[in-house]
Amino acid sequence: MADEPKEQKPSSVPAGDKPAGSPSPASTPAAKPADSAAPAAPPRAAAPPAPKPPVVLQTPLNNELVTRLRGKFGAAILEAMEDRKQAIVTVECARLAEIALHLRDEGKFDMLSDLTAVDWPKREKRFDIILNLYSFAKNERLRVKAHAADGEKVPSVVGVWIAANWLEREVFDMFGIVFSGHPDLKRILLPDEWQGYPLRKDYDILQQDTAWVKANLGIESGQ
């Protein structure tokens, strides 16, 4: 249901977000089987009897900021869209620090609200590095995404916003993504000698248990 063009519908999201956008991004893991034949049913089995026309949540974004970015960085800006009226710009991982600096200085996004990652194991570049930025002057939020493969070094944005220091350490701790240029990349929440990166999708209690049994009892876990 994510790939079909949908009608526009005024969304009822509270004020403060950006106006609506355009078709969806390419990298959505289809967990819900797409119903290609029938027109897309409403996502919720709601009470009203007549099925409502589907709501388009992801739309392409082409505002002034995106234009400027594209103008300056060209192909490094992979994609720009809005999801639920929140602006998302996907950029090339290698130029992340540059683009971050430009966003801070010219784009006036002076605060790094959050820096995190998401793991999509089935993709070739499995990690999404997400930066949530905020501009005090424009009262605007922006999400910057970069894709990184396992083992690929992501440029650190510590030089742009000091806030990234602990945030990148946490991403390293949880995902194992190495940030090049970080002054002190070590684990922050887990003990220093912890093995493994918990928030990866292939890390779970079963794997830990098997590893422990193997290490301490020397046998294969029967689970």
Binding site: A97, N165, Q195
Partner: protein, 398 residues
């Protein structure tokens, strides 16, 4: 720019040395202090009466002055974000209370609103107003606990008990509303589960009417007190540029002079309907943070009084159904929690369980600025500065 110090970091696994720099030679600005001859490293261990939880602080001292510090956290890490990936959206809601356990209602509000954004539904007006009332009461309760413990660290023994007395009233209201005092799980995705109990407005009004005199009591004990001013003025200064660069939010940012509050910048719940002021400090020292939080308590009280005058009638829960399957996508929703900007970044893949829930904890990010705030101060001020950032380790570590 990092050089590893073999002496300190032998045990680290998964630690990488960095010698390369990025193409633009962007230098990281956090320094390593090099251990010199007259320097002493003191450990304020995880168990300490004044670190408000299990926080370990390593201080590098030159005599009595702090010349460097390192916060070691993670003692309360419970893997909440990983747990979220194997719970349904509703099942995860009680977990968020346990992060900032001092202000559970705010956590719940942020989470429920984030999922509502994900589902593209809106809570009905009545639910939004009641949510506002409870969240503002929770803000007062959180600030009261902060005030009591902060004053206790600095040596004033009495405000703690007065603050607890007021906080008790608020917790009684919560208990009457949803059955729990601390980890309330007060809100549901789509609105509220419980209707406001019949005397909610009266209780809130009575509390708010008494509270004005109580705040005056605390101020009388502390605000003009010579010793209090001497212990807090000029201590732990964080300039506005530093605060923004560190991503600091909440009362700490406002005390540094940046007038920013998500309740005004991007109103949520019913905040756009009420008039209130945003207190702003000037120098960003501990005293300013104290004044800002006291004033915030007053403003919260005003919001409550305005809100209870006119709670709209109507349903309290939007029609979201029992099984929540938000359409695939992602959302970042931030609210103004008592500690700062509490953000939820939720990625949905269309199933009943979230694909990723990331919680942007204000205390974690505010604590990063601790090193900047504490340099140059005496050891006796360390405790005051930890207290003034107002951290809750449950939120720092998740």
């Amino acid at each position: 720019m990092g050089e590893s110090k073999p002496g300190n970091r032998e045990r680290a696994v998964g630690y990488f040395r960095f010698e390369e720099e990025t193409a633009l030679n962007i230098e990281a600005t956090s320094e390593h202090t090099i251990l010199g001859a007259d320097e002493l490293i003191i450990n304020m261990g995880p168990q300490h009466p004044s670190t408000h939880g299990v926080l370990r602080v390593k201080l590098k001292l030159d005599g009595e002055r702090v010349i460097g510090s390192e916060c070691i956290i993670g003692y309360l890490h419970r893997g909440v974000e990983k747990i979220a990936e194997s719970r349904t959206y509703q099942q995860f809601a009680p977990y968020v209370d346990r992060m900032d356990y001092v202000a559970a209602v705010s956590n719940g509000l942020g989470y429920c609103e984030a999922i509502e954004k994900l589902l593209v539904v809106e809570a009905p007006p009545r639910a939004r107003v009641i949510r506002t009332i409870l969240t503002e009461l929770q803000r007062i309760a959180s600030h009261l606990l902060w005030l009591g413990t902060h004053a206790l660290d600095i040596g004033a023994l009495t405000p703690l008990f007065y603050c607890m007395r007021e906080r008790e009233e608020i917790l009684k209201i919560f208990e009457k509303y949803c059955g729990a005092r601390l980890t309330t799980h007060a809100f549901r995705i789509g609105g509220l589960q419980y209707e406001a109990y019949d005397t909610l407005e009266k209780d809130t009004e009575r509390f708010c009417k008494d509270f004005e005199a109580r705040i005056a009591e605390y101020e009388e004990l502390l605000t003009q007190n010579r010793i209090w001013v001497g212990r807090t003025r000029g201590i732990g200064i964080l300039t506005a540029e530093d605060a923004i660069a560190f991503g600091v939010t909440g009362p700490v940012l406002r005390a540094s002079g940046v007038k920013w509050d998500i309740r005004k910048a991007a109103p949520y719940a019913a905040y756009d309907q009420y008039k209130f002021e945003i207190p702003v400090g000037t120098t960003g020292d501990t005293y300013d943070r104290y004044i800002v939080r006291m004033e915030e308590m007053r403003q919260s009280r005003l919001i409550c009084l305005q809100a209870i005058e006119n709670i709209p009638a109507g349903p309290i829960l939007a029609k979201v159904g029992k099984v929540l399957k938000p359409p695939p996508g992602e959302v970042y929703h931030a609210i103004e929690a008592p500690k700062g900007e509490l953000g939820y970044y939720v990625v949905s893949d269309g199933t009943v369980q979230p694909y990723r829930v990331r919680i942007r904890p204000p205390s974690f990010i505010n604590l990063q600025a601790f090193d900047r705030m504490v340099r140059g101060h005496l050891v006796a001020d360390v405790v005051a500065i930890i207290g003034t950032i107002d951290i809750v380790l449950g939120e720092v570590d998740r």
